[in-house]
Symmetry: C2
C-alpha cells in the first residue's frame, strides 16, 4: 500500500490543480503499489505532522511533495526532522551544486538559500537533477517516506531518477513481480461501444485489471497485469494486445506515448504524402495539432484559415455561387476549399473543415455562419490527384469540444488516406 501527501496552501485553496498526485498515483499503481489515499494539507507543522503519522501507519510507502523551497513557509524538512527526533543539516553535494550554480550566474547566496539544501540527519538525499532542493527518504513506523519538491518538473525528475528505481529494487527484493502495463489509444469509437466490445476481455487472465479514460475525442484503455511472474505478465499482455486489437480494430491508433499527431504524421511520412489544410470553424486547430510534434515539415506544407467567406472565395477559389446556393457549411463548399488548398500549396492531398462550432446564440444569420445548419454540423473534404470526397458529421458538446472533434476528424481523414 502507498499513500501520497501534497503540502501547500496553493493546492489547498484551489489555486493550482494537484497534478503532482496524479503523476505519482499513476506511477505507483503501475509499479504494483495500490494507493490507498491521497491527501493535501497546509504548510502548517501540526497538520503536516499529523498527516505523516496517519499515512505512515496506513501505508508502506508514502510520497510527499511540496514545502522544500527556500522560504520560511517551507517547513517540510523541519517537520520530517522533528518526526524522527533529529536535526536538519545541509546535504553537502546539493550545497556544492547550488554554490556552483549561483557563482555561474553571479548570484549571492542568502541564508534562505541554505535552507533548501537541508535534509534530516541520517536521511538519504535524492539529488535534484532539475533544480536546487534535494529530495530525501526517511524510515518511520516501518514506512519509507519519500520527500520531493512541489515544482512538477523537479518532482518528476527526482521520482524517475531516484524513487522509481528504489521502489523497483525494493519490490524485487521482496519478490514482488513487475506488472505489465499498456495503454491503447482509441479514436472514432465511443466509450460504451468500446466497453461492449471488450466484454470479458480479461476473463481468463488472472490478476489483470482494465481501466478507461476519456480525453475527448480520444478514449484510452489501460490494462495492468500483476501476476506473480514478471515474464508471464508480459506474455499475457501480448495475448491481451492481440485480442484487444481484434476486438477494436482500426479504432486503435497507437499505444502509450504515441500521440494522435505523431501517428498521423508517421502515416503521411511513410506514404510520402504531403498535406495541406483549409480550415474555417477550427480557425487553425488542425494545423496546430499536426505541427505539435516536431518534424512536421517532412509532410505538412501549410494551408489557409478561411474564416470569412471572402477568404474562401479569394484565396481558396471557392465559387461565390456555391456559398450562395449551398451555404459555407456544406459539402460543395468543403470540396472547393480542399481543392483550393491543394492547388495553392501543391500538396499531394488537402483536407478542409467548415462547420458551425456554436454556441447557438452566436449563430450568424448571414450565410457565412451556416445559420440553417444545427450547431455541431461540420463538413469535410479530402482532395487528392484522383478525386475529391466530402463527408459531414454532427458533433456534440460545447464550442471547444466541437472544434477539437473536427480537427481530429480532419487529420484522421488524412491518416486513413495515407494507409
Amino acid at each position: 500500500m502507498a499513500a501520497i501527501l501534497a503540502i501547500g496552501d496553493e493546492v489547498l485553496r484551489g489555486e493550482i490543480t494537484n497534478t503532482n498526485s496524479t503523476f505519482l498515483a499513476e506511477r505507483l499503481f503501475d509499479a504494483g503499489l495500490d494507493v490507498c489515499e491521497q491527501r493535501v494539507v497546509a504548510d502548517e507543522a501540526a497538520d503536516m505532522r499529523r498527516a505523516l503519522e496517519e499515512l505512515a501507519h496506513r501505508a508502506a510507502v508514502v510520497v510527499v511533495t511540496g514545502g522544500l523551497g527556500p522560504t520560511e513557509d517551507d517547513r517540510t524538512v523541519d517537520v520530517a526532522a522533528e518526526l524522527l527526533g533529529v536535526e536538519a543539516e545541509p546535504h553537502s553535494a546539493s550545497l556544492e551544486a547550488m554554490k556552483k550554480r549561483f557563482a555561474a550566474h553571479g548570484f549571492e547566496l542568502t541564508p534562505n538559500n541554505l535552507r533548501q539544501v537541508r535534509v534530516p540527519q541520517g536521511a538519504e538525499a535524492l539529488p535534484n537533477g532539475a533544480g536546487i532542493a534535494p529530495g530525501f527518504v526517511v524510515h518511520f513506523a516501518g514506512c519509507a517516506i519519500y520527500f520531493l519538491p512541489g515544482i512538477p518538473r523537479e518532482m518528476e525528475r527526482i521520482y524517475l531518477d531516484h524513487v522509481a528505481p528504489r521502489l523497483r529494487a525494493q519490490m524485487a527484493a521482496q519478490g514482488v513481480p513487475v506488472a505489465a502495463v499498456r495503454t491503447w489509444h482509441v479514436y472514432g469509437m465511443g466509450e460504451s461501444h468500446i466497453d461492449h466490445r471488450l466484454a470479458k476481455l480479461l476473463e481468463d487472465i488472472p490478476h489483470a485489471t482494465l481501466h478507461f479514460r476519456t480525453d475527448a475525442p480520444e478514449n484510452h484503455v489501460k490494462v495492468v497485469i500483476r501476476g506473480s511472474d514478471t515474464a508471464k505478465n508480459q506474455e499475457l499482455l501480448g495475448q491481451v494486445d492481440r485480442d484487444l486489437r481484434k476486438r477494436i480494430g482500426a479504432g486503435i491508433y497507437g499505444t502509450d506515448n504515441e500521440t494522435f499527431a505523431l501517428v498521423v504524421g508517421q502515416a503521411l511520412r511513410t506514404s510520402g504524402t504531403t498535406l495541406a489544410l483549409a480550415e474555417s470553424c477550427t480557425g487553425g486547430e488542425a494545423g496546430q495539432m499536426i505541427t505539435s510534434e516536431p518534424g512536421a515539415s517532412d509532410f505538412f506544407l501549410g494551408g489557409v484559415v478561411a474564416y470569412s467567406n471572402d477568404v474562401k472565395i479569394n484565396v481558396l477559389g471557392v465559387k461565390a455561387a456555391t456559398i450562395a446556393e449551398s451555404g459555407a457549411v456544406s459539402e460543395p463548399c468543403a470540396k472547393e476549399m480542399a481543392e483550393g488548398a491543394r492547388r495553392v500549396t501543391g500538396a499531394t492531398i488537402a483536407v478542409s473543415i467548415t462547420g458551425v462550432a456554436g454556441p447557438a446564440k452566436e449563430r450568424d444569420p448571414s450565410p457565412s455562419g451556416g445559420s440553417d445548419k444545427p450547431v455541431g454540423t461540420v463538413c469535410f473534404a479530402l482532395a487528392s490527384a484522383k478525386s475529391t470526397k466530402a463527408v459531414s458529421k454532427l458533433f456534440s458538446g460545447d464550442r471547444a469540444r466541437i472544434r477539437r472533434a473536427a480537427a481530429y476528424f480532419a487529420l484522421d481523414l488524412a491518416r486513413r488516406h495515407s494507409q
Copy 2:
C-alpha cells in the same frame, strides 16, 4: 474550516486528475471558508467511513464528490446512511425526473438506475440540474456534509445551484461577511517582476491576501479581502484595483472571466479593425486562439499557415531571395509574410509569426528550419495600411511553450495596434 473528500479509484490510481477538488477548494476559499484538508479515498466502505468521520471532526463543512452512480461500486449513499444509522430511500422528485427522462428516450429502467436516486432518510436532497443522481446534505458530529456526484459537470451544477447559496445563507446567519475577490490577468510580465511591483500592495488593507498563479505565458494575481464588513470589503477591493493597475499598468489585460482571446477580440471589434494571420512555426495556434471565443467572425478574416517555404513564397508572395539571404526565421521574411497575408485577405492589419519552436535536435539544416537561429527565436511583423513593423523575441521552454508564447505575442501586437 472546510474539507474536501473525493471518492473514486480512478482518481486514486491517477487515471484522472482531481479537478473537482480544485473547483471546490477555490470556491470554498473565496466564500470565506478555509480549506484545511483535501483527501481522496477508494470506493471502499471502510475507507470512506473513516475519512468522513475524521474530516467531520476537523471541519464544519465537508464536501464529498463521487460514488453516486448506478453501479455496485457506487457506495457513497449506503456509507452515508450507515454513518447516520438510517436507511437509504429513493428521492421521489429525482425518481420522477429520471422516469420521465428515460421514457422520453425509450430507455428501460433497471434496478441499478433506482440505486442512483436514493438519499439517506432525513437527508435534504439537492436536485441535479445536469444529470440523474441528486446530491444531498446531512449533519453529523456538528458538521454539514454535502455529497455531490463525481462527474464534473453535474458536481459543478449542484454546487452552484444548491451548495453555494446554502453556504452563503449559513455564513450570513452566522454574521460572517462576504469576501471581496478579484483576479487580474497579466500578460507580458514575469512573476518575479509582478511580485516586485506589488511589494506592500496590501500593507494597509486588513484581512487581505494576495495569491499568484502562472498559466504561461499569463500570470494571474488574486486578492481576497475577508474583513468583517461586506460593503467595506468591496470598497477596499476597489482601492486595491486602482493601486494594482497603477503598479502593473498595461500588463493587466483583463479580470476574472475575461480571456486573452476575448480581450483581443474586443479591441479589434471596438476599433473596427479586421485581422489576418500568417503563421509558420505556430502552425495555426494563433488562429485557433483568436477564434476560441464565439463571434470572432466580426473581426477575424483568416490567414495562411505557411509552414513550408514554398507556401510562404507561392501563397504569401515572400521573395525567394529574402529567404535565401535572411532565412525563413528573419524579420524581412516576417514582414513579407504579414504584407502577403494582408494583401490576399484584404484585412486592415495582418500579423505574421515565423520562428524556431524546437526541440534543438529536430532543427533542420536547410534554410526552412532556420538552422542558424537558436531554438525559441521567433520573428513577428504587423502590416497595416501605413507601415510594416517587425520585432524578434527569444522565448524559453519546450516546443509547446514557445509556440504558445508566440501565438500570444502575435495577438498582443494586434491588440496594442487596435487600442
